[in-house]
Symmetry: C2
Subunit: 227 residues, 2 copies
Amino acid sequence: MRKMPHIRVAVDAVVFGYRDRKLNVLLIKRSIEPFKDSWALPGGLVLENESLETAVERELKEETNVTIDYLEQLYTFGNVDRDPRNRVVSIAYFALVKPEHHLIKADTDAKDVAWFAIDDLPNLAFDHQKIFETAKNRLKSKLTYEPIGFDLLANKFLFSDLEKLYTTILEKDIDRRNFRKKILSFNILEELEQKVSEGRGRPANLFKFNQKQYFKLLKEGFLFDIK
Amino acid sequence: MRKMPHIRVAVDAVVFGYRDRKLNVLLIKRSIEPFKDSWALPGGLVLENESLETAVERELKEETNVTIDYLEQLYTFGNVDRDPRNRVVSIAYFALVKPEHHLIKADTDAKDVAWFAIDDLPNLAFDHQKIFETAKNRLKSKLTYEPIGFDLLANKFLFSDLEKLYTTILEKDIDRRNFRKKILSFNILEELEQKVSEGRGRPANLFKFNQKQYFKLLKEGFLFDIK
């Protein structure tokens, strides 16, 4: 008979925020070996009596104190040698945080916590660079077929903010007129009375994402698609 | 300090085959408790020195002897009470098998193994019904944006087979003329000289999927899209 394998189960989270018109990721500085003082994705071992989602939420709370607006399972990383101590299988999650919730505070296992622009990341512990890349690709592809971009914007935003978010994350220019026409044709945005001045131009209206309307349309077969 | 959690790590596979113009899934009959004599997805515990993919391939070989044509990670199921014995987290995989590889043979842990049409499934052990549903949804959505349908068809097929596969799995009628025009416009199919008689109609040409050409087009930015 085979001997019972000893494999530990962890969760890790790639938490994205959109700050100063750049995509950022939330990292913690490790206070223990291995990779002591290295930056890493927040995460840790799953407890016996909690679900995977509960474990991610607990670890994020403990290590970063961040409030999550969107959470989904990303991928499970299980290479034999991904942790120098023991065999650890990590279920990675993908999370989005609105600017209203960007405030963070290091705690317990983490020595420090900070937002990093994704074009200026430090070396990451373990296989966290690979987990991060997987999450970045998921975000890029999801942006074109689900309205998850709104979970990176403030509740009220200018249309130009949405446009900029798309060009930044998709890393390509978009035809501004077509983009505006297409998004507005979906009828999932509410144009508010409130106006804000943008640079030297005339004041522009603020918008709000109407999630209730989106879910209603979804049931009727609507496809969000901005490829 | 928290006590070290004991969580076991397993893999399970949802293996699809397309038989007699119906989508089928590969099940094994359990020879041990719990759920002894119930039908279940093939799978088992991951060994300490093997990757998750190696574990799935080993378990499929041991329990069903099937040869896989396409394999990808599906989702990780980790509810606290999904196994009555111990806490077990299962990384589920999604696999496709061409008709050339439909031959199966029960072995080791499995008392029996069989293909079941998905509209006529027995009660499944554990949370395997939920895992199966997740895989079915993944297959339905992937079929519209990746040419994975060809991994369910024989190497040489009639265009009407491809059409039937899509209507069966997507569970809706398709406009046959548009479908044919669209798929052929992608330039990823090779029309062979070889002809086959279909029912009372005149003989129709066989087709072959040109995977090499597909990967070439993919690099150039081609999007397979048949929504």
